[in-house]
Symmetry: C2
Subunit: 279 residues, 2 copies
């Protein structure tokens, strides 16, 4: 199976490289804005260096592919409208339109939990407690919490339009990814930006406790993510589906039954295993 991966050297793309590259099932083409030799440890793979906002480059890369895993985009919830317009709105159109022209069968799209982030905003931190019993599934109304979330929902709707109205792509899978990290136990709040390392708030604080609880609820291990993408690539039944990209976390507030029943997603990990790195 020939598979184009856009945004191949980000957190999610490298999880695919780690777990699926060289397994024999796929001939991957990687597309990223920067050459792996320059900025990444994944320097061994040939890469189409292009921005997904570049229509022609995307069209060239799509030629001959059976599927595309579209991960490229502006990745942060802290976003302005201008941040997301080109990378996420125009970029996803470019990918879908190129897939249509190249008669690509399946599109797996990196959507986001932020499409329904309004539920978290309303119910955090209780929502991270299993006893709260709050579960959001693919049928619940979307409540985007950011321009980023709105832009990801746009990609989902555009995917539905394509599969229902065009000959190709035949199948579209929106994965509302929760939190895939750079490495399995990479701490999302350990960087300078979060304030942990520059002393803005303490590891003993309530905020810190809540962030750890959140991470245990949201985590999708790298192997579970790669497995979920593989489920989509192997599926032949779905035309349009929305699935939560999360491990089988005790604290998750996202439904997994739809993904289990529909594409056979069978996550191995639980966010309780994930924990803050040693101080």
């Amino acid at each position: 199976m020939d598979v184009l991966v856009t945004g191949s050297y980000g957190r999610c793309g490298t999880a695919l490289i780690d777990h699926l590259h060289g397994t024999g099932g796929y001939e991957f083409t990687y597309l990223d804005r920067s050459d792996p030799d320059e900025d990444h440890e994944y320097g061994e793979y040939e890469t189409v260096v292009a921005d997904v906002a570049d229509e022609e480059a995307v069209r060239d890369a799509m030629d001959g592919q059976d599927a595309v895993v579209h991960l490229a985009g502006y990745p942060r919830v802290e976003s302005s409208f201008d941040d997301v317009l080109e990378p996420n709105v125009v970029g996803t159109y470019n990918v879908l339109e190129a897939a249509r022209r190249a008669e690509v069968e399946s599109v797996v799209f990196a959507s986001s939990n932020h499409v329904v982030g309004g539920y978290e905003a309303s119910f955090a931190p209780e929502i991270y407690e299993p006893e709260a019993g709050i579960v959001v599934d693919h049928t619940d109304p979307v409540r985007p919490d950011s321009f980023y979330g709105v832009s990801k929902r746009f990609g989902e709707d555009l995917g539905r339009f394509y599969v229902e109205n065009c000959e190709y792509p035949e199948r579209f899978y929106a994965l509302r990814i929760c939190s895939v990290r750079h490495s399995e136990y990479d701490h999302p709040y350990g960087d300078a930006e979060s304030g942990v390392d520059d002393g803005e708030w303490s590891r003993d604080s309530d905020e810190y406790e809540e962030m750890v609880a959140r991470m245990k609820a949201m985590w999708q291990s790298r192997r579970d993510f790669a497995h979920q993408v593989e489920c989509c690539l192997h599926d032949r039944c779905v035309d349009y589906g929305v699935f939560y990209g999360v491990s089988d976390n005790r604290r998750r507030w996202f439904d997994l039954e739809h993904a289990r029943a529909t594409i056979g997603y069978d996550p191995q990990d639980d966010g309780e295993e994930w924990d803050a790195p040693p101080e």
Copy 2:
């Protein structure tokens, strides 16, 4: 109440002028791409001549308004991605962002039946027959049938983001308008483009019959549309709502109960009254 109307000289905007202007309840500001003196019969009103894609012009026009009725946009279902990107995606962002800055309380947004047009594509022409019993409501999954439909859904999602995450606007009403005509009995298929007048197909044909049945299902009379907008402008309870913009047509396949119960929409007309113009 100070109300800005964007796209004021289109089919929907002029229905507001016909039925609400001069009733004493509203101080309207009209915004349109073209001056009414040039292209319209509505030459008596002062107009902000601007495109909604012009961020600064929209911001200036929003100043001091209590509400905005945002009707401007690329209006046709036959649309390319480029057709809708600036007018509908960027334009609606400009309107919402300007409304937030100007602390405008209510936004009434011209969404479209094409957000759920996939149901029509699947079930036409049976869907136009009352006996078919097909009713789509605001909780059904969206199935956009066009780039136009996707762009209108984007506006709905963006509105939800704003009301849930920003102080203003406080209320957002998405009206999924079905078919408002230039005049009450204006025939939508009578223009050259449709092929009626240039003999491409006959008024006795099955296609013509289906188009008339469709129009009777989709019609929203100009007075019913103006009344529905007025319901939104007077409401103080909804934060985010999606309502179908349709008269009480015997053939309608859109729910009206939600609009009746939530904003008190009480349509007076039935598409059975609408009919093809004399040959």
